[in-house]
């Protein structure tokens, strides 16, 4: 964070201190590059250079959040001053707690990779590697995205907290096509690696070419293997429902559970890991200046933690978990501990069932009950007697998150750092095997 921005933020805190009881300013500076690939060629390269100024102001327990991306920070200050004039006309916020007391700044180390800056100057080598690797598997074409970011974050509060940290992000995903057969893989990290770039291309190509056979499919209940892409997508929903705000507003299957209740098979744990410097959601302090910590949300099948900021913690008579969000607490990075099945043994372990390699469009009928469905994309394999029979085409997984988590039968030893369009919370996920899951497809 450069000194101009530092000075700007202190000025904002000082100016607004006269009119508000509390001020927190979170400034995020982003330099980002993204190249999209279409039919094995770059379709566009995008660059962003942004300053996001976020202000949390409180007067007499009335709380406002101002989020501005603007060329003129004075507009933001003027707006905040106008807010002060009308403060008394607004009712108190239901979820309010004072900002935490002064704490030492302990930024997270090890989440910055200078290579990211290097490749942001010219990403064409990365594009070439990804495309070549995928095409090398024998597919006809490849699409995908390579994104690099450099992010500086600075939080200053009127309680005397001041802390800044920086990190880089590397996101890559590819979809490979061979006729009607497609494969997909993804990866996210704070560090650039040509080796994983190759792996993304290779795995996308591998799934697109894993079978040449199209086979019939009958809707019903199946034992299924879900790839880390699917696991990342579905457990992003589970972790979001562990946000205390989701529970307090009914948008959570955990609203009807207490901490300590069994919600999953004892082989399943789900952790929020903000202090993992490799996953791109890495963060040392939350938006309220609380030091982050790694912790289980679900531990061996038992719900043990809801994610809190200061206000939801007060409402639920507990302490902040370092997951602010000024309004909504949220997970930073997710991790599912591995199991003991080796990746190459998964299909044999399944014996009979369906292997879903990727999904999208997960939607819920009822968050409180956890009813959901999601649609497969890319290759879906029918497995019989421990062997792949062929690709069944697109199917829908229609179930309930409780059923999904309670019917978990096994996890792979290998895990993968997944981050892409359909998995927005970076997740280190294994393959999982789940029994008796309903799969559907229209009759016509």
């Amino acid at each position: 964070m450069n000194t101009d921005i530092n000075e700007l933020i202190h000025n904002i805190v000082e100016k607004l201190s006269r009119q508000f009881d509390e001020i927190a300013v979170l400034a995020v500076t982003r330099r980002e590059l993204m190249t999209k690939i279409w039919n094995s060629e770059p379709s566009i390269t995008q660059l962003w250079s942004k300053l996001e100024l976020n202000i949390r102001i409180v007067k007499s327990r009335r709380l406002w959040v101002l989020s501005y991306e603007t060329h003129d920070p004075e507009i933001l200050v003027k707006h905040a001053e106008e807010v002060a004039k009308i403060a008394d006309k607004i009712m108190e916020a239901e979820l309010y707690a004072p900002l935490p007391d002064y704490a030492l700044c302990k930024p997270l180390e090890g989440a910055f990779d200078y290579n990211a800056e290097h490749y942001m100057r010219d990403p064409s080598r990365l594009v070439d590697v990804l495309v070549s690797e995928a095409l090398g598997t024998g597919v006809e074409r490849v699409s995908g995205t390579i994104a690099l970011s450099k992010i500086d974050r600075l939080l200053v509060t009127s309680r005397g907290y001041e802390c800044g940290e920086n990190k880089t992000e590397f996101e890559v995903y590819a979809r490979a096509f061979k006729g009607d057969f497609t494969g997909h893989w993804a990866y996210g990290s704070t560090r650039v690696s040509q080796e994983v770039l190759r792996e993304v291309g290779r795995r996308a190509g591998l799934y697109a070419t894993i079978t040449k056979t199209r086979v019939d499919f009958t809707p019903g209940e199946y034992d299924v293997i879900l790839s880390p892409l699917v696991v990342g997508n579905l457990f992003d929903y589970v972790a979001s429902m562990a946000s205390a705000l989701a529970v307090l507003t009914g948008f959570s299957m955990f609203a009807k559970y207490k901490l300590g209740d069994r919600v999953a098979a004892d082989t399943l744990s789900l952790h929020d890991v903000p202090r993992d410097p490799v996953l791109p959601g890495a963060v040392g302090f939350d938006d309220e200046g609380v030091e982050t910590s790694n912790k289980p949300i679900i531990d061996k099948g038992v719900l043990v933690t809801l994610l809190h900021n200061a206000a939801t913690a007060v409402k639920m008579n507990t302490k902040s978990t370092g997951n602010a969000g000024w309004v909504r607490p949220h997970p930073w990075n997710l991790e599912i501990p591995s199991g003991d099945i080796r990746e190459e043994e998964l299909i044999r372990e399944l014996r009979s069932g369906i292997f879903i390699t990727n999904n999208w469009y997960t939607r819920l009928q009822n968050y409180y009950e956890g009813h959901f469905s999601t649609v497969s994309r890319d290759v879906v394999l029918l497995v019989k007697s421990g062997d792949v029979v062929g690709h069944v085409g697109r199917v829908r997984l229609a179930s309930n998150f409780s059923t999904l988590m309670k019917n978990l039968k096994g996890l792979s030893k290998e895990r993968f750092n997944i981050w892409w369009w359909e998995v927005r919370t970076p997740t280190r996920a294994p393959f999982i095997i789940v029994s008796n899951i309903r799969l559907t497809r229209p009759e016509a």
Binding site: I37, W64, I90, W421
Partner: protein, 480 residues
């Protein structure tokens, strides 16, 4: 407009000097507030503003885009040079150069007319509106509990100035207002039911009166309470299905609008939102349905949530007949896909904010209505199911295999609506749906939504709509 237009012209001129074949400079300012209320208590009041310049260039057949919130001339020139340089660097990886279609471009300024200016609608008004919604629903329900009702109200003013190197100059201002009400009904023995109802449009405060939302909330929650307490499973045999406007509109959006986006047909979104069952050779050649299968996308509907008159490439907007009496007719185009299809752009290029590249988007998508009254639509049905609203839905990545789970639903018996039905599950293909529309009524309604597409994902306001639609007999699933 908080920018000197000359700045954008300087950028366009400099881009041409740097060797770009096409330069587009867009100042965009999106601002407003969001109020969230849980039951009758304020959860959060947020103000937002995203203001800056997006520059897109075409260099040696490669596209580059850059965006910045720092709009000083020196920074803009710096950003321009970077994006020209990046586009030039990646152009060596392209075999086929990107070329834009030649178009008649607009030089215009337009604003949505507000009868009561949106800027007069303040946070206090919004909180009052939200609390009123909660109290209304609370006093409507009789036997079930209402543990959660979350109301979100959002104002959004979007101001744009688009200047292109081939002569477009489009200045626009579109104010929008949006409200969503998410309620959870709970019965100790029957479980829970959740509903999210949305209202939205472009204009001023007058929209609130037009929505008539309190009456709708009372009607819906009276009905939903009955569904929760008395709802039974749908018939197990195949029955005639009638879908309400809300469901029909969503189907039009998902299974006609999205697959008819030309960039999706050509594979540009393949690794994100997917491709399309529609192939380029299907245009005006492939029949996806019958005579009632007419789907229109029209950005020019006054008061609509997806309203605009010129797109972000300077092309005049007009209604597009995506499907016409069952025939796949006209995809949504920008200037790039228009060139590839050897046609003219129909003005479908939109950007969410200044950070977003313009891409092909829907606006207000709907199935054309007919002449029948609702009573006439169902009068010959001995046994059927009417699905008026939904919660869960999804569709596959080529927009063929889709699912909708009904919320407010009823049996139809002897030509009349009868007992409530709980959670009917409809799964069908796009081809089946459009080929099995037996009749449509005249009750065209629209619903707002935020359509997601692109990378980074861009959510843009849209309407989707349609009449009530009668379908052939189908098997209805149940939620398990």
């Amino acid at each position: 407009m908080q920018i000197d237009p000359l700045l954008l012209y300087r950028i366009v001129d400099r881009g041409r000097d740097l060797g770009a074949q096409y330069v587009e400079a867009r100042f965009q300012d999106d601002y407003g507030f969001v109020v969230s209320v849980r039951n009758d208590k304020v959860l959060a009041v947020s103000y937002y503003r995203s203001s800056g310049v997006g520059v897109r260039v075409l260099v040696n057949g490669a596209l580059g885009f850059a965006s910045t919130s720092n709009i000083s001339l020196s920074n803009l020139l710096n950003v321009l040079e970077l994006t020209v340089s990046q586009a030039r660097a990646t152009s060596s990886l392209r075999k086929k150069p990107i070329v834009f279609s030649e178009e008649q471009l607009g030089v215009v300024k337009y604003s949505v007319v507000e009868k009561k200016p949106l800027l007069d609608f303040n946070v206090e008004n919004a909180i009052r509106l939200a609390v009123e919604a909660y109290n209304t629903v609370k006093s409507t329900i009789r036997e079930v509990k209402l543990p959660f009702l979350v109301t979100t109200i959002r104002t959004h003013v979007q101001e744009k100035l688009v200047v292109t190197s081939d002569g477009a100059h489009i200045e626009s201002r579109v104010p929008r207002l949006y409200m969503s009400i998410s309620s959870t009904l709970l019965h100790p023995q029957k479980g829970t039911l959740q509903r999210m109802r949305e209202f939205g449009g472009s204009g001023g405060i007058e929209l609130i009166e037009q929505w008539n939302h309190l009456k709708i909330l009372v009607e819906e929650h009276t009905a939903l309470e009955k569904v929760l307490i008395e709802g039974t499973s749908p018939p197990s045999e195949k029955v005639t299905v009638v879908l309400g406007s809300e469901v029909v509109g969503l189907i039009a959006h998902e299974s006609a609008g999205h697959p008819m986006e030309a960039d999706r047909i050509l594979g540009r979104e393949a690794s994100q939102a997917g491709e399309s069952y529609v192939k380029p050779e299907y245009i005006n050649n492939y029949r996806v349905g019958g005579e009632h299968a007419t789907v229109i996308d029209d950005p020019t509907i006054p008061g609509s949530y997806g309203f605009y008159l010129y797109d972000d490439e300077g092309v005049k907007a007009r209604p597009r007949f995506l499907y016409k009496n069952g025939l796949i007719h006209e995809p949504l185009h920008n200037r790039h896909t228009a060139r590839l299809f050897n046609t003219r752009s129909n003005g479908a290029s939109r950007s969410m904010n200044n950070s977003s590249e313009p891409i092909i988007r829907m606006s207000n998508t709907y199935i054309a209505p007919g002449e029948l009254k609702f009573e006439e639509l169902i009068e010959d049905i001995d046994l059927g199911v009417y699905v008026k609203s939904y919660m869960e839905w999804n569709i596959d990545d080529i927009r063929w295999n889709q699912r909708y789970v009904g919320l407010e639903s009823y049996l139809i018996r002897n030509g009349e609506l009868a007992d409530p039905v709980r959670n009917p599950v409809l799964e069908f293909t796009t081809g089946w749906f459009y080929s099995n529309i037996l009749a449509v009524d005249k009750n065209l309604e629209f619903h707002p939504g935020t359509c997601g597409k692109g990378e980074p994902s861009q959510g843009v306001p849209v309407w989707f709509g349609g009449p009530n639609v009668k379908l052939s007999k189908m098997r209805i699933g149940v939620l398990t």
